[in-house]
């Protein structure tokens, strides 16, 4: 067995040349295209990641916007509810005020009506009483319309204050109104009674006033003493009107 050194050398050179050829035309192009594909894939992945990030950002933005819109809607609703509440409260207050005014006016009207009714009723009652009294007095003898009232007038005069009584009938005669004309005896009896109360002699100026129905009335500056049915009926009417 022997070695052919020429063949060995040629084969070594051939192998080196083949290494160069395959490196140049096979391995480098394939490695290059693999690297390009890797870069393209990385770029696509980067783009996808960027798109995903953008989508995520958009989603978060949309969520934030939705939340803001929801909050704004809630605020608007709350504001509207508050405004409606205020409006309703104002309307209720206005209604209450209107009702109060109407009620006050109605009560005032009622009071006025009641008052006028009472006044009318009192007036009617007084007129009716006066009419009844007049008719009853018409059935009594004339002496009963005056004679019985002299004592009551004297008592009422006695109830006046001393200072008032002191000034009565000093400067002028005491003016007496009677329901009918008094007889001389009745005048004397009345004068005596008044003089006894005033403790001095008095003169009388008697005038007839049928509107008194029955009784006497003394008029003097600073004092009026009434003792007749007209005054009594007036007081009764006033009491009736006052008590409804």
């Amino acid at each position: 067995m022997s070695i052919d050194w020429w063949t060995l050398g040629l084969q070594a050179v051939n192998l080196l040349v083949l290494v160069w050829i395959l490196a140049r035309f096979l391995f480098r192009p394939v490695a290059r295209i693999l690297a390009e594909r890797r870069e393209a894939a990385a770029a696509v992945l980067a783009d996808a990641e960027a798109a995903r990030a953008a989508a995520e950002a958009a989603r978060q933005e949309a969520e934030a916007e939705t939340a803001a819109l929801k909050a704004r809607r809630e605020a608007l609703l709350a504001e509207a509810r508050e405004a409606a509440g205020r409006e309703a409260e104002a309307l209720r207050a206005e209604a209450r005020a209107g009702i109060g005014r109407e009620r006050a006016e109605a009560e005032a009207q009622i009071a006025r009506l009641r008052e006028s009714g009472q006044e009318e009723a009192a007036g009617a009652a007084a007129a009716l009483a006066a009419d009844i009294a007049r008719r009853l007095m018409g059935r009594l003898p004339d002496s009963a319309r005056a004679a019985g009232f002299a004592a009551g007038l004297a008592e009422a005069l006695a109830d006046l204050p001393e200072a008032t009584r002191a000034g009565l009938g000093v400067a002028a005669p005491l003016r007496i109104r009677a329901a009918r004309a008094l007889s001389e005896e009745e005048r004397r009896d009345l004068r005596d009674r008044l003089a006894a109360v005033l403790e001095r002699p008095v003169t009388l100026d008697v005038a007839e006033d049928p509107s008194l129905l029955a009784g006497l009335e003394l008029e003097a500056p600073g004092a009026v003493v009434r003792n007749h049915l007209k005054a009594d009926l007036g007081r009764i009417a006033s009491e009736l009107a006052r008590h409804g």
């Binding site: 070695i3 052919d4 192998l15 395959l22 295209i33």
Partner: protein, 233 residues
């Protein structure tokens, strides 16, 4: 019958005798170069069938180099890939009638082994520096220097003999059986030869990777595996 281990020149180029393995190697080179040019002429991001096969081969080759050396495979891809493709094509060229595989000649295997040896030394010096590469002979201690030097020679010789023995024996067996039995009898042996040729191409390439990886400094995790593969056929 002539001695089959002695190469007779087919013709001469001046003083240089050109033998059959050289001519067969030129043919293989031309075929591989033509295939490479045609196959890589229209590479695209969306690969066709041929491009897919090429990319699969390249990715597998890179994976083997990376797994064995623990390094970026780019600087070693062309050498390892060319050795594998050449040995594979040379082994399988025996299927063509009348063609004796170049790897059945000792000179071709020796040339390939010497190229691996030179590459191992060159890459070792390039990656470690001359001093660093020489210091690897004193690992794990200076006592190992003679043994390491012997190992450099013996493993190269082992590369040569392993490939030569396998391929040459296949050729011899087929020739003997063909001469004794008839035309179609060696077909199973030829099929076995295909398997043997593929395995031998893989072994030659992976051992070259292991040697270069050991020279440039392999990763600690790859070391036990490299030793294990070195002791395989």
């Amino acid at each position: 019958m002539d001695n089959p281990l002695v190469l007779e020149p087919l013709f001469r180029l001046g003083p240089v005798p050109v033998t059959a393995p050289v001519v067969a190697t030129w043919a293989i080179m031309a075929g591989l170069a033509l295939f490479s040019v045609l196959a890589t002429r229209r590479l695209a991001l969306r690969p066709g069938r041929v491009q897919t096969v090429l990319e699969l081969f390249s990715a597998t080759l890179d994976g083997q180099i990376r797994a064995t050396m623990g390094r970026d495979p780019a600087p070693f891809r062309a050498l390892i890939g060319t050795i594998f493709l050449f040995v594979l094509a040379a082994n399988w060229s025996s299927l063509i009638p009348g063609v004796e595989p170049p790897t059945a000649a000792l000179e071709t295997d020796a040339a390939a082994a010497f190229v691996v040896f030179a590459a191992t030394t060159g890459y070792g010096i390039r990656y470690r520096g001359l001093g660093g590469y020489l210091r690897t002979f004193a690992e794990p201690s200076w006592v190992m220097i003679p043994l390491n030097i012997i190992e450099q020679v013996t493993r190269t010789v082992a590369l040569i003999v392993r490939l030569f023995g396998n391929v040459m024996s296949g050729v011899f067996v087929i020739g003997v059986v063909l001469s004794l039995a008839g035309l179609f009898v060696p077909i199973p042996l030829m099929a076995l030869d295909l398997l043997t040729g593929g395995v031998q191409a893989y072994i030659f390439a992976i051992l070259a990777t292991v040697f270069i990886g050991a020279a440039v400094g392999e990763s600690p995790s790859a070391a036990p595996r490299a030793k294990e593969e070195e002791q395989s056929p």
